[in-house]
Amino acid sequence: MTTADELVTRTAELLAAHDPAATEPLEFLRARFDAGLAWVHFPPGLGGLGAPRALQAVVDAELAAAGAPDNDPRRIGIGLGMAAPTILRYGTEEQKRRFLRPLWTGEEVWCQLFSEPGAGSDLAALATRAVRDGGGPDAGWTVDGQKVWTSSAHLARWAILLARTDPDVPKHQGISYFVCDMTDPGVDVRPLRQLTGEAEFNEVFLTGVRIPDAHRLGAVGEGWRIAQTTLNNERVAIGGQRTPREGGLIGILAETWRRRPELRTHELHQRLLQGWTDAEVLRLTGERLRQQLAVGQPGPEGAAAKLAFARLAQELTGLEVELLAEEGLGYGDWTMSRPELVDFTGRDAGYRYLRAKGNSIEGGSSEILRNIIAERVLGLPAEPRSDKDVPWKESAR
């Protein structure tokens, strides 16, 4: 197995061959990928070295110290966090070679076409249809439907897409998983404005979009199972981040508290102390999860971190607005804009308050996460369901 020392050596070699100060960022990132130092736990030839995931930190630290460019992970988070692990696990060799390198370097941005207006919590109810168009070597699929809550769709080159390929079987069984070319003329991306005033997401209308069969990921009808990989990776990514004490929203709040004694009341003080404690408990929970992952004992805390984060974020942002009182009545700017990144810290308290409402909805609502914890972690029985065994086309929607 690759050791930390070996990684330090390899990183030094990369830096020696490609001086960051004298190399185009993209060229450097490609070289880093080719050296297996992109994501060290990926296989050799696909940007990694088959090393333990935890050792990535060693490489990152060396490169950061040398002033090397990074691949702007926040901009390409969907590709890194959702598309890449799914392609790695279910993709053909050809798909892996084609997609992973430009995904990791950021040359090609990815988005995710899963949710639909009628399929939110019940994602498996999705109605977007993919119909096979003939046979032969040119065989492919024609896709029609409407997707929603797609971030980065207006920037994306590719999308991971769930579509129904067989309406005659129960809903979880008739779904397939595709890579969709966002430059196809049948793809129509429209901004979806949120309550913050921004259009961080998009609606995506798919009309006669053609997808070659070579861009199908996994077997026909296996889409639901594959999507679970995608979604689990999303949640682990959220839960496993390392944050310092007072990182994030609680830090903003505590700073305001310290700087502005005139705003303090005993009521707010009690809530601040509670929020600070909650934030620290959540931080320690995430840290414990990270330590478990590092020694290969992933605990179920990952699925829960998102739930806890949403609860805390809403509590803290609501408190911040109350603390600011007169200032909390204000709002910077309602003008519609299309941010590339969501930055909680860069705008005002009102924005944070409103944006945090989405934390308990996007990427698996808090209600769905509670179901998951109750059933998968606590082993409580599922509710009686009537929709699992009937053909999709006959199910009540």
Partner: protein, 380 residues
């Protein structure tokens, strides 16, 4: 304590129906969305209708002065409906806060009533909307001996289109409440979390002011206006919360997921049952505050503190639950529920936060804080 009347009279129910019908017609949610991004976030046409067709902008003003001669109970009912519609009209600022001061000013305000009662002119109280009843008298504006007012006031509600400003100021003989023509004041709009209740900053540079209430009464009258505002705001919050619950229930009875109507899922049912319970409490508390204010009960300050703290929190919770239980659609700009969320959160800060109102019970209900003697409660 006198017996409180916590019910709605037939007259009040008729009033409610009339207001509700006009609002359903004149400010349906879609119109609200269009208006709040337009140049006129508040709706002067609707205001004139409320004044001229329904006569509700001066309900508690005596008939002799051109009002309806009703009581604050009826005013509270109108606020319930305005809250339910998230209506973009300056009712709180003009018909509640400013009107309370003008009624206390007696003859000095006599000339103002015709235009106000007719809806041709609105008034606003020039304090930050977040001012709590027990806040110290604001001293940001100074009045000179000739009545010229100089200074600034921030975050004043219901200013767009206003004619008359009532400005608390520190005069030569002490604090006073002055009438100032809005045309003599520099008004700067500021971004408001609540899109349907705009805020503005005021700058006065020797603006001519007319003394309405002098130093002997100014603090007490301002307190009364703010207390009345906070107490009646609870009714607005009640109406808002009722809309959020009803709209969410209606949505969950239609929306299907997992082959079932979403509203049949027990976890959501229990949350909505708890919310309903809190709203039932809000109804009782808001009615109690309105009745106590209407009768001038000595218990009014306690009941306002109870209603303001309870209803302020319930409205926010109702709106937050509405957003959450609408799922993604509740996060969109197109769905009106966000307007209610913003109104609810702003209302929670308006005229004192729930925590601030609860804190006033330390004195009002003799529940002293740790250490030190009871703080003095002005005017009680």
């Amino acid at each position: 304590m006198t017996e409180l009347d916590l019910l709605y009279s037939e007259v009040e129910e008729d009033l409610r129906s009339a207001v509700r019908a006009v609002l359903a017609d004149r400010c349906p949610p879609q119109a609200l969305l269009t208006r709040c991004e337009g140049p006129e976030p508040q709706d002067p046409g609707l205001w004139r209708t409320l004044a001229q067709e329904l006569g509700v902008v001066a309900l508690q003003v005596p008939e002799a002065l051109g009002g309806a001669g009703a009581s604050l109970r009826e005013t509270a009912v109108v606020l319930e409906e305005l809250g339910r519609a998230c209506a973009p009209v300056p009712f709180l600022g003009s018909a509640v806060l400013a009107t309370t001061v003008l009624l206390a000013a007696g003859d000095r305000a006599a000339g103002e009533w015709p235009a106000l009662c007719a809806g041709d002119r609105t008034a606003a109280l020039a304090v930050p909307l977040s001012t709590a009843p027990d806040a110290p008298f604001p001293l940001g504006v100074r009045a000179d001996a000739a009545g010229g007012l100089t200074g600034a006031v921030t975050s004043v509600a219901d200013v767009p289109g206003v004619g008359l400003l009532i400005v608390p100021a520190d005069g030569p003989a002490g604090p006073g409440l002055y009438a100032v023509d809005a045309a003599d004041v520099t008004v700067t709009a500021r971004g408001s979390l609540d899109l349907t209740r705009p805020l503005a900053d005021l700058r006065l540079d020797g603006a001519p002011g007319r003394l309405l209430v002098g130093p002997d009464q100014a603090e007490a009258v301002l307190w009364e206006a703010l207390l009345t505002g906070a107490g009646l705001l609870a009714s607005e919050q009640l109406g808002l919360a009722e809309w959020c619950l009803a709209t969410t229930v209606a949505y969950l009875r239609e929306r299907r997921q997992f082959g079932r109507v979403v509203g049949s899922f027990q976890a959501l049912k229990h949350r909505l049952a708890d919310l309903w319970l809190d709203i039932a409490g809000a109804r009782a508390a808001a009615r109690a505050a309105a009745d106590a204010l209407a009768t001038g009960s000595a218990d009014a300050a306690v009941l306002v503190a109870v209603a303001a703290s309870h209803c302020g929190a319930v409205a926010v919770r109702a709106a937050e639950e509405a957003v959450q239980l609408h799922g993604g659609i509740g996060m969109t700009w197109e769905h009106p529920v966000h307007l209610y969320l913003k109104r609810a959160k702003a209302d929670q800060l308006a005229l004192g936060t729930p925590g601030r109102h609860r804190a006033s019970l330390a004195t009002l209900a003799t529940l002293p804080a740790p250490g030190g003697p009871l703080p003095r409660m002005p005017h009680v």
